[in-house]
């Protein structure tokens, strides 16, 4: 598990509830779906978010190349590294750290273009997910256009590992219970989330 902050990319566009960062395709630190990330907005203010989508746009050339019978390695490398097509990482804002205090409220204003995106360390994941009573779930559950079940499963899997690392195996159970409480009046969503969590399998 990571212990030092890793720079992932820089912001392309943002709003209060989410932001999109760009990074290179070949970047070794490319975050995965559900990763908790943070963006320092200004001195003493950071936005925290969860990666909910990673996508790459195509263009005419890529489409044409894709039909080619054989692609030399230099062409693949050139396309991945030097063509102006960043991997776009979409992030939903789930909280903030203001003057050192973590909360699951939204930051007062969004990060701006080219702000640097960092992957949270295990300690930061633990700190963020144990602040309050899992209030940040509300941001995820409100975002109906997102694959909520898959996102929660991916996030909970990573957070579970971080908590288990520090000897707190109960976190996952509590988080699942909280999700059930929040969603028990919404049968379809709850079952979708729980099915996804079940697919995680026991650790």
């Amino acid at each position: 598990m990571n212990t030092t902050p890793i720079e992932i990319g820089r912001l392309l566009r943002s709003s209060l509830t989410g932001f999109v960062a760009g990074c290179r395709v070949d970047q070794p630190s490319l975050p995965v779906f559900g990763t908790l990330v943070r963006v320092p907005i200004e001195d003493q203010l950071e936005a925290f978010g969860l990666v909910y989508d990673i996508h790459m746009d195509d263009d005419g050339l890529v489409r044409q190349l894709a039909t080619s019978h054989s692609l030399p390695p230099e062409v693949i490398a050139d396309n991945r590294n030097n063509r102006n097509m960043p991997v776009e990482i979409s992030i939903i804002t789930v909280g903030r750290r203001k003057t050192g205090i973590l909360s699951h409220l939204l930051p007062g204003h969004p990060p701006v273009s080219l702000d640097v995106l960092y992957r949270c360390t295990s300690q930061e994941v633990r700190d963020f997910t144990t602040t309050g009573r899992l209030g940040y779930f509300r941001h995820i559950l409100r975002a109906e256009e997102l694959p909520v079940g898959e996102l929660l499963a991916a996030h909970l899997e990573q957070a579970r590992a971080a908590h288990r690392e520090s000897g707190d195996p109960a976190w996952f159970k509590n988080a699942t219970r909280e999700l059930i409480t929040l969603l028990r009046d919404d049968y379809p969503t709850l079952m979708s989330v729980l099915n996804a969590l079940s697919d995680l399998g026991p650790e």
Binding site: L61, Q64, L65, H69, P73, E74, A77, N81, N82
Partner: protein, 392 residues
């Protein structure tokens, strides 16, 4: 409705009929010329002397000239040379326009360097230069689009030469368009100066033994056709009526070679270019070309590759060029075109938004430094008015 479709509709059948007839005529003529090529080809010396004698009377003669071997020869695809460094350059420009807020020009030249058979990333470089009226011309004349284009051609080649320095692997450099520097302009002095610079650069390639070539897509030139027409004209058994008729029909060289270069990667023999300009490119720098079938299917697609004589004289360099050009076209799949040239174009291309952005940056800086702000022309302003929108 900018086009009067009613009128156009009536003209279309006639137009298509004429075009079809012309194509038929051209194909027939091409067949005739191909016959001539097969007959006269094996005597390249004879054809060459024909060009020499004709040029004595016709100073503006521009045609192909056999180069070292029979023009009727066809060369199959050679073995690909592995592990070479391939560099391409392309440029684009912002042409001067009095309609803008600030009158300026810009030349953007991008190079891209690829190491074949390697997954190391490409190296790219872009050079952008802002110019005003007094650059290049030293105040002798206004900067025109042609001068900018010439300068861009020179800079492209120069950039390739610079990028080619210091490489340990075999090098091949490529641009889009002819190797020949050829533009219409009235400023003979300026042209002379620029040509000198260009030839110096070409010499640089010669010194470094770096192949440099120009790739012409969908060529419509008729250099070989003219050579063959010359042959028909000077044939004693000629049918004068037939020759006169041939003279009126424009036959592109690719129409002659299409049935000849049947296999993917086939190329013609090398021709030299005879033209009023060619006297500037002498000996080792004499400009040559060949046609190559870059299609991977049984339907040929021909491109012209221009190269200096010193390259054309070396069978191995010629093979390398032929193989690399074909290989590059293969990468692009069903629409063959050298991948590296497309990438260079992509890198060099200046978009409309960038032009606008640059215009604003310059205007802002001018204003900051106390200059009175020039307005865009009223014509441009009217053009920039938003089009009719759509209520959603």
């Amino acid at each position: 409705m900018p086009i009067n479709y009613h009128q156009v509709q009536q003209q279309i059948p006639d137009f298509c009929k004429r075009a079809s007839n012309q194509r038929q005529e051209a194909l027939m003529a091409a067949g005739l010329l191909r016959d001539t090529l097969e007959k006269e080809g094996p005597q390249p010396g004879k054809l060459a002397s024909l060009v020499e004698s004709e040029s004595a009377t016709n100073k503006s003669l521009r045609c192909a000239k056999p180069f070292q071997e029979s023009p009727a020869c066809v060369h199959g695809l050679p073995e690909i040379t592995r592990g070479i460094t391939l560099i391409a350059a392309d440029g684009s420009q912002i042409n001067p326009s009095r309609h803008r807020q600030v009158e300026f020009s810009l030349i953007n030249v991008a190079t891209i360097s690829l190491q074949t058979d390697s997954d190391s990333p490409s190296t790219i470089n872009t050079e952008s230069t802002i110019m005003d009226n007094f650059d290049l011309t030293a105040g002798t004349s206004f900067l025109t689009e042609n001068i900018i284009a010439l300068e861009r051609d020179i800079r492209e080649r120069k950039a390739l030469l610079e990028q080619a320095s210091g490489s340990n692997t075999p090098l091949l450099t490529l641009t889009d368009g002819p190797l020949e520097l050829f533009r219409e302009t009235n400023d003979a002095h300026l042209i002379g100066k620029m040509l000198g610079e260009y030839i110096t650069i070409l010499n640089g390639f010669l010194e470094k033994r770096v192949i440099t070539a120009g790739y012409v897509d969908k060529p419509q030139s008729d250099l070989v056709a003219r050579l063959l027409k010359l042959s028909i004209k000077n044939n004693n058994t000629r049918n004068l009526q037939e020759y006169d008729r041939m003279e009126t029909i424009r036959v592109a060289d690719i129409n002659i070679f299409n049935p000849v270069l049947q296999n993917p990667g086939d190329r013609t023999s090398v021709f030299a270019i005879h033209s009023p300009w060619s006297k500037h490119f002498k000996d080792a720098l004499e400009l040559c070309f060949f046609y190559i079938n870059v299609s991977q299917t049984d339907k040929p697609y021909l491109a012209r590759v221009e190269l200096p004589a010193w390259c054309a004289s070396s069978p191995s360099l010629l093979d390398t060029l032929q193989a690399v050009v074909f290989q590059q076209c293969v990468i692009m799949g069903s629409r063959p075109y050298p991948y590296i040239l497309h990438r260079a174009h992509e890198l060099a291309l200046i978009t409309f938004e960038e032009t606008t952005q640059l215009d604003s940056m310059l205007a802002q800086k001018m204003l900051d430094s106390g200059s009175s702000q020039e307005m865009i022309s009223n014509k441009q302003s009217a053009k920039d008015l938003p089009g009719r929108g759509r209520y959603i």
